[in-house]
Amino acid sequence: MIKTTSLLLSLALAGASLSVANPSFAAAIPSAADTAAQAASELDEKLARLWADRPDYVALLEQKQSDRPLRVVSTVPPEFPKSLKRSGKKGTILVSFFVNEEGRVEAARVVDSPDEGFNKPSVAAVLKWKFVPAMRDGKAVKVSGLVPVVVQ
């Protein structure tokens, strides 16, 4: 049975402000590698491929940690189609996104997903999330984020 709740989303959001290389994310990747470092490296490569058409975002992926990480202001849960809910499919949809200097999500794409049907609703939801922007050197900056949407 599929059960995606705001609760699970917010759990996942714990990591939204962390670096993409943070080992805690490695566990969220379905194709988890043997070690956290390996998984992080694998994830870096995936993200770079995912945003290859947007060099500006790839540059952000590689940026150093901000002084003040993103803070979540509000979230919206994804609305999956009923047919998908009935199918009993579950897993983790990993969504990569970018938050601008105003705290708005300006782009989001799925990194990993157990079923394509989850992708569009997950991206649509993440695009509606709001954040307090990250700060670096006293200024709001655009940063990357990553969130696992857990469906169970």
Binding site: L8, S10, L11, R71, V132
Partner: protein, 632 residues
């Protein structure tokens, strides 16, 4: 079995000594409170805890204790009032700038006007940070202007989600403390859907349900999370229960699976009523202040002990001298009520658990949500003192284990700064003659019956069909409550059809023809969608539709208490063996049920039987009505 993972503590841990209670530190040495208005957030910091509040929606987007972030997402206030609402278009206001008081205190307010539209309430949430305290005080103010449309609030909560990489141990009360599986642990939902069964990992097969973590409000002042590895704790602490709806027996949500931590402001669960404000009424209610408290060091036991100490401290300090709001009277604006309640023709001493309180005259205090209630325990001799009562006129209520009735005295006027001595108050429960028999103990719960002592478990209702294949047939004199009377009169599934059940009580009446009046007192701890028909020796005495509180499905052992008196001609009693039948007639699904608190049969051979229209059949409980009238 959600509480199977209890840590065993056999000796006092030295770590307990290491718990940090920053509040105990000398105020003079603590850093000043600072306030900063960022572009997106308001930032409060006292050097111990720091919080950031989003200017967009008032959510606490960051709460840190000594630099360590403790929340996994935004903490927000919501209220169900014709739909679910959060702050959306708020005004942020600095109420007290710490720069004006040498850094002793900062208060900010997040405010939103209902403007008479949906939702028709003005809502404000205040955050108060004081120098040297290891936490932040929070309160909410709901206001309804007289020109707003009629409106109601079913529920209001402050919802936090703790960071589960820091916190893995839930603390509800002394009996309910355990390691919790991480919120990402796979589950399948059960019926009711709030119950979830873990499908993988070391918790596989176990069940968790938010209703297993509800607590009765009367004696509950603290709950929270701690970390077995982080040695940190995060707690919600109430200094008073005056703001809670439904009185001391009302059950409220506390914390549950998924790192959820809750402060319930008002809630209709277990049959309580919504806040209901008619058009034309000017209404304001202050909820709180409560304390979001953080501590560190030591084991979960030590953190819990420290949190309880902090709760005691908050209760002693109530009403808070630092709190300044026009709708929060200070100590001098409140009064006290003292007295001694003595029970006549009943048990000579108050048993532990006896409550006395002040609330509005109507409806039943269990159903009150608009105002404030002030409850406390009575001593064994019935002596009581209720301090810090907001000035006004109340009804004094009392109820106690062993007594099915409740005491009330109307028109008790509390004046600011005064202690009202009521002296000795005689509680004279009605007299129905000689007690022939009794099943259960009148204490407003079904705790003494089968499973009643361990009721916060999923699916208890399913045991009935195998435990009682012939139904309950309770023989006065030989049957035992703990084994022979189920905690709830449930429905059974008979070849795909749900149907109600009939329970018998067999008893011996005096061995001679009887005259006068017999009275069956039916004390009901909870009921849901139940139609109850009471018969004696196959002849119907009475019937009721009972209140709907859903306590059984929500793992409670009580909901809305009601007391029914069923008087009948004593001549209906046969000399010798009699059978009283309680038939719950609603089928439908697994939800309809009756939880009995106690049954008492009295016989008064001197008293002339009068028709029920002259006799109060309905004694306590506001939302029940009679289903049938088959009496003479």
């Amino acid at each position: 079995m959600p509480f199977a993972v209890f840590p065993k503590r056999t000796a006092f841990s030295f770590a307990a000594l290491l718990v940090t209670s920053a509040a105990l530190a000398g105020a003079g040495r603590d850093p000043a409170v600072t306030f900063r208005d960022d572009a997106f957030t308001l930032v409060l910091d006292n050097g111990i805890v720091a919080l950031e509040i989003a200017k967009e929606n008032g959510a606490v987007v960051h709460f840190a204790y000594r630099g360590k972030s403790l929340l996994s997402g935004p903490a927000y206030l919501d209220w169900q009032s014709d739909g679910n609402h959060h702050f959306s278009a708020v005004r942020c206001r600095i109420v007290t700038d710490p720069a004006t008081n040498g850094g002793d205190l900062a208060e900010i307010a997040i405010e939103q006007s209902g403007k008479g539209q949906r939702p028709a309430f003005d809502v404000a949430q205040h955050f108060v940070l004081r120098r040297g305290e290891s936490g932040c005080h929070v309160f909410a103010v709901f206001h309804h202007a007289s020109n707003y449309p009629a409106a109601s609030i079913d529920q209001s909560r402050w919802v936090l989600r703790v960071d589960e990489s820091v916190f893995d141990f839930i603390n509800v009360d002394d009996q309910r403390r355990a390691v919790m599986p991480p919120g990402t642990t796979p589950v399948r939902t059960l019926d009711p859907k709030e119950a979830m069964q873990f499908t993988e990992g070391p918790w596989q097969g176990r069940i968790t349900d938010k209703y297993h973590f509800f607590a009765e409000a009367g004696d509950h002042f603290v709950h929270g999370w701690s970390g077995t590895k982080s040695n940190l704790g995060l707690w919600l602490i109430d200094g008073s229960r005056e703001d809670h709806n439904g009185g001391p027996t009302k059950q409220h949500n506390t914390a549950h699976f998924g790192g959820v931590l809750l402060k319930i402001l008002t809630c209709v669960h277990y049959g309580a009523h919504a806040v209901e404000i008619p058009k034309g009424m000017e209404w304001t209610k202050v909820y709180g202040p409560w304390l979001l408290y953080a501590n560190s060091g030591g084991t979960p036991d030590a953190l819990w002990a420290d949190a309880k100490r902090q709760a005691e401290e908050q209760r002693r300090a109530w009403p808070f001298s630092w709190m300044h709001h026009p709708h929060y009277p200070d100590r001098m604006q409140r009064g006290e009520v003292r007295g001694r309640i003595t029970v006549h023709e009943g048990s000579p001493a108050m048993l532990p658990g006896a409550w006395v309180g002040l609330a509005a005259a109507s409806p039943d205090w269990q159903q009150q949500s608009n105002g404030y209630q002030f409850w406390g325990h009575m001593d064994a001799d019935g002596t009581f003192a209720i301090p810090n009562v907001r000035a006004g006129t109340y009804t004094l209520y009392a109820f106690a284990p062993g007594l099915a009735d409740e005491f009330r005295r109307d028109e008790v006027t509390v004046a600011a700064g005064r202690s009202l001595e009521l002296g000795e108050l005689a509680w004279r429960p009605p007299h129905f003659g000689r007690l022939l028999w009794q099943v259960g103990i009148p204490d407003r719960t079904a705790r003494e019956f089968r499973y009643g002592d361990n009721h916060r478990r999923w699916g208890l209702w399913r045991h009935y069909a195998t435990d009682f294949p012939q139904g309950v047939n309770f023989r006065i004199g030989s049957s035992r409550e703990r084994t022979d009377w189920n905690y709830a009169q449930v429905t059974v599934n008979d070849r795909g059809q749900w149907r109600g059940t009939a329970w018998d009580v067999e008893f011996e009446a005096p061995d001679h023809p009887m005259t006068g009046t017999a009275t069956l007192r039916l004390a009901i701890a909870s009921a849901h969608a139940a139609q109850l028909v009471v018969s004696l020796n196959g002849h119907k005495l009475d019937g009721f539709d009972l209140s709907t509180d859903n306590a059984m499905a929500r793992a409670g052992i009580r909901g809305q208490y009601t007391l029914r008196d069923v008087p009948f001609k004593a001549s209906r009693l046969r000399p010798g063996r009699n059978v009283l039948t309680l038939e719950q007639q609603t089928g439908r699904n697994m939800l309809p049920n009756v939880m009995y608190d106690s049954l008492q049969l009295y016989l008064d051979e001197q008293r002339r039987f009068e028709t029920f229209r002259d006799t109060p059949r309905f004694v306590i409980g506001a939302n029940a009505r009679n289903a049938g009238e088959d009496n003479d």
